[in-house]
């Protein structure tokens, strides 16, 4: 089981490396990309070293003659596939306490940052997935995961997001982000994960 998981993490990491620079720094135990919820604003998009559009046709060569259409950073992002956008985790996950479904201050900052991103890309729709760590029972966790997704959704709507753009779904403890069995894995797994489903 663990072997298999690790193997697939490896495969995932191999895909991520060209996309996200900071991945390279930390890969002893092939790491899931667990972005620490940043208290500050969303990653400024006009300074995009973290997101290297890899799979797109080479941009028009070095731009001395500014003739070819130059995409704005947001346009570059919008041009990516849904899979690429989600892999880059433009929308960060919100983390929760044990058995809890309340947004803390940090969680609210993350939702605010995600709301800003969604405001910049008004055609994007999002599904908020609620997840739990492995310590609860699988049945009750379906309800708990839902409460977590709903808590994140509620705050997004308070911030003015069109309700038609957001869905919620609970996965209970079925899809842990980190397959480990320790505090740090559990903390990473108690989350509301934002997935862009349409753009």
């Amino acid at each position: 089981m663990h072997d298999r998981r690790h193997a697939s993490w490896m495969a995932g990491a191999a895909l991520l490396v060209p996309v996200i620079f900071f991945q390279a720094a930390c890969s002893e135990n092939p790491p899931p990309v667990i972005p620490e919820p940043v208290v500050v604003a969303p990653t400024p998009i006009d300074d995009p070293p973290e997101i290297v559009p890899s799979a797109r046709p080479p941009a028009p060569a070095p731009p001395p003659p500014p003739a070819a259409p130059i995409l704005t950073p947001d346009e570059e992002i919008a041009a990516q596939s849904l899979a690429e956008i989600n892999r880059a985790l433009l929308l960060e996950p919100v983390f929760f306490g044990l058995d809890g479904a309340e947004l803390d201050e940090r969680g609210r900052r993350v939702v605010e940052a995600n709301a800003d991103v969604l405001a910049r890309f008004p055609t994007w729709n999002v599904t908020i997935e609620g997840h739990c760590d492995e310590r609860g029972t699988p049945e009750y966790n379906l309800g708990l995961g839902e409460l977590r997704a709903l808590a994140a959704q509620r705050y997004l709507l308070e911030l003015g997001l069109d309700p038609a753009r957001v869905r919620t779904v609970s996965y209970g403890k079925e899809f842990p982000f980190d397959p480990g069995n320790d505090e740090s894995a559990w903390a990473a797994n108690r989350r509301a994960h934002f997935v862009i489903t349409e753009k």
Binding site: M1, R4, D99
Partner: protein, 476 residues
Amino acid sequence: MAPIPCRPTGNDRGGSRSKPHPSWGWGGMAAAMAVLAAPLSPTSTGAAVEPQQRDEVRVVIGDSIGAQSSIAVPDCLPLTSDPTTLEASRTIARVLWDDLDFEREFRMIPRDVYRTIPVAASLIDIPFDRWRELGADGVVSCTVAARGGRQLEIAARLYSVQSGESAFGKLYTGSTRDIRLYAHQLSDDIHRDQRGLEGVARTRLAFVSDRDSESVFGLVENRPVKEIYIADYDGANPRRVTVSGSLNTNPAWSPDGRSIGYTSWLTGFPDVVVSYLFEGRMATPVEGDSRRQNFLPAFSPDGRRLAFNSNRNNNNDIYVANVDGTGLLRLTNHPAIDTSPTWSPNSQQIAFTSDRTGTPQIYVVGADGTGLRRLTYETYCDRPTWSPPPFNEIAYSSRTGPGHDIKVLDLATNEERQLTFGLGSNESPSYAPNGRHIAFMSTRNESKQIYVIGRDGRGLRRITSAGNNEMPSWSR
């Protein structure tokens, strides 16, 4: 000389054999039903084995109160020399020994103890002296013969070693496709005849497994596909029921054993799906969508209704509907999480989990929504499972430390007893149809696997080993 009455088996567990016809919308899943073509059940032909004594003399092995009688099951005697018969003569004896051992009605003498005792020269020519020496009260004698190309004929008797009389005898014929099923049927027949007990050797477990190591296709990587599987009660003959490439959880057998309800995320949102195993048909009776999600189905023991969980009114509550989705009734209406419904044996009450006091605890309510009562006062309880009669108890998962243990609450005395003790986490209990065993998931050996244990906490057996396996549901 009247023959020993050969009870009709009344077993149509295999259901009709009509070819599944994948006609329903979800092509892949419907087609997968073909995998389920049930094995042919060995049928007792009605021709009983020639009895040795008059019908009115009823022989019961070890019916003296207090003493557990000991039984030996040597290899069967092959009457033809083809490989199938030779294999069947060993397999049937081995599986029968395990089946009889499971219910603990008899003390089973280990098979290697009597390896040196020669197989009986015929069905009735038994070396009783040798078995008496061994301290056996009863010995099973059986013969296996090939009949035609794909048919087997198995004759079996249970002899009293004391008197040399036949206590039980029956003849079985059927296909060679599932040889273990002859042993299971024989075990159930012996338990019924000798102990008045409905055995569970022909029952099945449904469960969730990631054993095929597939990943969900979608926008997020590295998510294991979890499908619904079924296997014999002892874990043999595992077969996949769903082929959705998605997440499926919480399987629940219908009481007639012809369908399994479960939670499926195939559409991206959880909904209750019912797969009709022998018809290649599926249904979504309570019609979920992104705004109306449904989980955790539970069939009422009378087979008429489904209890399930839904967030359709923006809150997680228990609902009840007829199996076809009509007659929807909201059973709970509380802002807290209400989940994990289970039916009482008479279909009149439902136990469930609610965290309305701050932690998940077990409650019970009438199937009409009246008479709410709290049952547990512990740290964290979930997945209540009501026992079948004659027991009146609820098994559940209780947080006892870092993980959970299986406990049982006796509803008559209000006393609880604990069946597992802190080895890994132990979750999702499900009762055998005769109430004598409980299947559950445990992480005691790292991965998630299904185990069964007696309702007295004895006789732990591991059932699964490939991949991770969880959320067992025991067929009725």
